[in-house]
Amino acid sequence: MTAETMEAPAVAAPTATPPHPLREFWGYFSANHGAVAGLVIIIAVVLVALLADVIAPHSPYVTDTSIALKPPFWQEGGSIAYPLGTDPIGRDILSRLIYGARLSLLIGLVVVAISIVAGTVLGLVAGFFRGLTEIFIMRLMDIILTLPSLLLAIVIVAVLGPGLMNSMLAVALVILPHYVRLARAAVITETSKDYVTAARVSGAGTTRLMFREVLPNCTAPLIVQASLGISTAILDAAALGFLGLGAQPPSPEWGTMLADAREFVLRAWWVVTFPGLAILITVLAFNLLGDGLRDALDPKLKR
């Protein structure tokens, strides 16, 4: 803190150019080791997902009962051909985890994309038009927030029918209120500022004001929430998969893999351990990244 105050005059001197915003961001971000670790893990998971066809030793779907329930290679009876063992119908667990990374990342991205777009639009509308529109939207969001998130998702999927698409929609709806609230709050603080008045005076229409002027200034909290949202989405979609309501077998979605493996917990520890570990590590990475982004994008908060 003191060091920063000391340096302040130097930065303010007319000759010194301020650091590029990205550079400044990276400076804050890389100071947080946890966040960097999260980013590295995420990059690794993305690479695994992209290169699944190349690096997976086996097909994630081909079954072979003659090699069912083989333990991992370091245990007696395991073989290096199936490094993390095989599941009850003889599929290679490592290959299924690798292909599962694709699904989990896809779920996270699609869910957050849907809710961030819908949420931002609803939030912008609520923040700009106020009055009845705002009350209606925000009350609706309050109701969604009141209900336990997974319960609502479960009910929606139970009604729409189990499946990957429906579970993604359900989770997107459940996390929607966070984005609506953030966007609305940001819009309300921003619209009272001079630059918005200036734009309005120079004749900008509401749509232009909403999307070209105000929105770019509200992105920081949305980005942070998006990163945390991906972890919630992966976790909730996996929970739905585990309950048999999400992606359906033989899909290698991690939660669905756990559901298949449940009854084998007593005799084959590896079929339940690895899929859950994959979920935990990925979710943890996105949470670390989200925390780091929040600190870096909002230096007021923790410094």
Partner: protein, 336 residues
């Protein structure tokens, strides 16, 4: 104070209407005729079908149908289970104590560990202990609890043979439900060993359900404590020469607890969500497992009524938390 209570209570009316609307319309999203949906796969004879259509008002506008539904709900009529033919409300109240018992144990577990851990982490800021607590709690926060339950079963039930795998109590005991809370009922009964059996069955589900609240409480306590420890009155207390323990336990903790209480309240929804997963893993006979079973049996009245009841319970608890919050923090109730 009265005005504060009245405003807060009146705020739940739109929420209640919203939840009933949601429950009302969701069932109508199920493809097909609603009466046939509610009647199940056995079908229904045409005369009865016509009678039900009139009774539920399906020949009338949607708004009237919703009115009929709402007045039924207000009279406690949530329909009957298609499988057991029992009223949904009866089934719910029979199973609810099991869920509450589990949720209470989980929140007590989370508080007993989370509060001291968060406080110590704040006092020893940036120590190894602090980093450890923060790391563990972030992991707990990211935990897929359905997997966590399986792993604990693997370690404590399969490898170490310490705890049972499922259920609330060993099958050889029969306990007459008086309060519905097995921990109390077994103490009241004179069955030997029943209480320990119930305790043993509770341990793993409690840990599993308590993990996420524990993580949240530890993080919240730490940050609230850090904020309070920087206040002037703490410096004054130090300057007066008070002992470290007095400062932390009497001066700081009291104010740090205010945000923590809110967080505990917010955890109620998380607990019910977690209970659905926890009860499924441990075959715990509570409302969460009942709801999931209903989905797979296509028992729509149970799904609709059960979800509505859980929503109402969470809403009521949130209201209670709001009111207590106003009670312990005068700034809140005078502001509105």
């Amino acid at each position: 104070m009265l005005r504060f209570i009245l405003t807060r209570v009146s705020l739940i009316i739109p929420t209640f209407l919203g939840i009933t609307l949601l429950a009302f319309f969701l069932i109508r999203l199920v493809p097909g005729d609603p009466i046939e949906t509610l009647a199940g796969e056995r079908g229904i004879d045409p005369a009865r079908h016509e009678q039900l259509r009139k009774e539920y008002g399906f020949d009338q506008p949607v708004i009237v149908q919703y009115g009929i539904y709402l007045s039924r709900v207000l009279q406690g009529d949530l329909g009957k289970s298609m499988i057991t033919q029992e009223p949904v409300l009866t089934e719910f109240s029979a199973l609810f104590p099991a869920t509450v018992e589990l949720a209470l144990c989980a929140i007590v577990f989370a508080l007993l560990i989370g509060l001291p851990a968060g406080m110590l982490a704040a006092i020893r800021r940036n120590s190894i202990f602090d980093h450890g607590v923060m790391g563990v709690s972030l992991t707990g926060y990211s935990m897929p609890i359905f997997w966590w339950g399986l792993i604990l079963i693997l370690i404590f039930s399969v490898q170490l043979d310490l705890t049972p795998v499922s259920g609330r109590i060993d099958v050889l005991y029969y306990i007459e439900p008086t309060t519905g809370f097995l921990l109390i009922d077994t103490l009241l009964s004179d069955e030997e060993g029943a209480f320990w059996s119930a305790v043993k069955h509770l341990i793993l589900p409690t840990i599993v359900l308590g993990t996420v609240p524990l993580a949240v409480i530890a993080r919240m306590t730490r940050s609230a404590m850090l904020e309070v420890l920087g206040e002037d009155y703490i410096r004054t207390a130090k300057a007066k020469g008070l002992s470290r323990f007095r400062i932390v336990a009497l001066h700081a903790l009291r104010n740090a607890l205010i945000p923590v209480v809110t967080v505990i309240g917010l955890q109620v929804g998380v607990l019910f969500t977690g209970a659905i997963l926890t009860e499924t893993i441990f075959s715990w006979p509570g409302v969460g497992k009942w709801l999931i079973d209903a989905i797979f049996r296509r028992d729509y009245p149970v799904l609709q009524g059960g979800a509505l009841l859980l929503g109402i319970v969470v809403m009521a608890v949130n209201l209670l938390v709001d009111l207590t919050y106003g009670l312990i923090n005068p700034r809140i109730r005078h502001n509105r």
